[in-house]
Symmetry: C2
Subunit: 343 residues, 2 copies
């Protein structure tokens, strides 16, 4: 017997019995199997390298559509969580995976998505050691929702954080922003727009790990939900410092810019899934730029702004965009303007 | 501003902006806050006690209705994961939490559920150190889905597993089975049945940790999805041994039994959320029984069966129920008989 004897997911695939066992064996274990994944165990023992600080992070994924140019919910579920560890300076070692599958999902589609997840995990060097699947009735899901929790380790002496940022520091971004947001939006075909923008969906550990030896590295973050604008706002609100961004220096692909203009979106709020925003001392920002431009995935890196003394009041820090014609515009915290589900 | 200025969840509560920050601060951080939860951090550093084996496990929760006699999806999301660690002999230390919230959920209801989750975590001695929330459009969820990943530690010398089970061992259950399944079913009011059965939803670490010093302890599991029958089937299929259960010895509440008879359910397949099935040597089974009967939550414990040499073939192990009138019935692996969503 095999789960492929059926064509679509039924509630029986979630009932704890034979159908569920086949689903887990024929799809999840097949694509995610490794020597530490025991599908019959309640909990998995893991190994932690000496002299490291263990770190946990978690992320949920509800992107629609499930597959889009440059990726799918499976690879996204690996990268989203691995990247949260990576920007903390931690190398991801293990992942747990929750799948909430909607009755009626095509089994071949689930197979593709979990294969993609397994491939992304392998590429990122992370092992799936625990998992759970649930099946929701038709009309109570989005085909597939995923949640991953990542367990990683960082060096004991690493000290990064917004508290380390000072006036004069530079803001660097590892590549063009907004590709993921626009790729997903176009894949929905809701606006009758076509384009060949691909999501930047990818693992950023090669980028972040390359900067860890720079003494002037203060802080890193991946600009996902809320985009570059929200990362900068978080820095500004937390530190009380202002972030001044040079619009002309921020890399945005022409196609992304055009779609944004047509739809009235601001690219600075669009999600990326394979980019890093880093804050460094001026000298090390130059070094970081050179390092990234030599790495696959970092060739579009740019220094895009400067940290400045603000009003000095905590919570009063602002993100200011200087336009090419010399004007300025404040990039506020996102209000109740729902962006599509893109992560 | 507060999230309680609104009455229901909107898509804006998931967009990464101010509304989402208010939701996280006013509900999640309020109820789950602890000194290691930093809602602004990408990943949380955790501490692992020396001479322990770290363990990971994960579970998803889609129960309907969200609140039921004896519990709710919030407390369930703590106990489900803490218990998977507990039956592995591991004390839960940290949890990550994923919430997938459906647009339209009443904010007061979410507040109650997360308060309950926070309370259960405190009771179980586990800290929530990482979290993520997503909002799905109306009609693409079940109000609230949760996923938790648990990180715990067990003693380095502990060695439990199905491989340790031998013919002659006894099967012990910590209390009446099926309470959770029936409580949730009645809460749905789908069958026009009434009753005051409460879910057994609870943390089993006090029960499992009390047995860890018994040399004759072979294996423990919590009978959730698929119930007692599936736990016994897993043992039988994995070991090739037969499990012979005495129907008269299996504790089932009268009300649970009656509802099962009316609806044609078999109580042995119903989910529990606060029970443990343990396999021990005959001598230590008696000791375990005495230990459990002295612990709150274990006072209904019973020795319910014996492990016997089967045909000797792996995968051929059977679960045999001996009825009070001297007959026998095989409890097969659950087939495509979808039980309601009760965990």
């Amino acid at each position: 017997m095999s789960v492929f004897d059926d064509t679509h997911i039924s509630l029986a695939h979630g009932n704890g019995g034979r159908f569920m066992r086949e689903l887990i064996e024929d799809i999840f274990a097949k694509h995610l199997g490794n020597d530490e994944l025991d599908i019959n165990a309640d909990a998995a023992a893991i190994t932690i390298p000496e002299n490291t600080v263990p770190m946990l992070t978690t992320d949920g994924f509800i992107v629609q559509p499930l597959e889009f140019p440059g990726g799918d919910i499976g690879s996204l579920a690996v990268h989203g969580t691995v990247n949260d560890l990576a920007v903390s300076g931690a190398r991801a070692l293990y992942l747990s995976l929750n799948a909430i599958i909607e009755e009626g999902l095509e089994i071949k589609c689930l197979d593709r998505l979990i294969a993609s997840l397994g491939h992304a995990a392998k590429q990122a060097g992370v092992k799936i050691v625990a998992g759970d699947t649930k099946v929701t009735p038709r009309g109570h899901g989005g085909g597939l929702y995923l949640a991953t929790t990542g367990f990683g380790v960082r060096d004991k002496n690493l000290n990064l954080g917004i508290h380390k940022i000072q006036a004069g520091d530079r803001v660097v971004v590892s590549g063009p922003i907004g590709d993921h947001g626009i790729a997903v939006m176009l894949a929905r075909e809701a606006f009758d727009l076509k384009g060949d923008v691909k999501s930047d969906n990818g693992c950023v550990w090669p980028l972040t790990s390359a900067l860890l030896d720079l003494d002037g590295l203060r802080f890193m973050r991946d600009p996902t939900r809320g985009g570059l604008a929200m990362v900068c706002n978080e820095i500004a609100k937390t530190s009380g410092l202002d972030i001044v961004l040079q619009e002309a220096a921020i890399p945005v692909r022409e196609q992304v810019q055009s779609v944004c203009e047509i739809l009235g979106y601001d690219p600075y709020y669009l999600a990326c899934e394979g980019r890093v925003v880093a804050v460094l001392s001026p000298e090390d920002a130059q070094k970081a730029l050179a390092i990234w431009q030599d790495i696959l995935g970092g060739d579009g890196a740019q220094i895009i702004g400067t940290v400045q003394e603000g009003s000095g009041q905590k919570d009063a820090g602002q993100v200011i965009l200087e336009t090419p014609i010399g004007g300025t515009r404040v990039l506020d915290e996102l209000e109740d303007d729902p962006l599509p589900r893109i992560c």
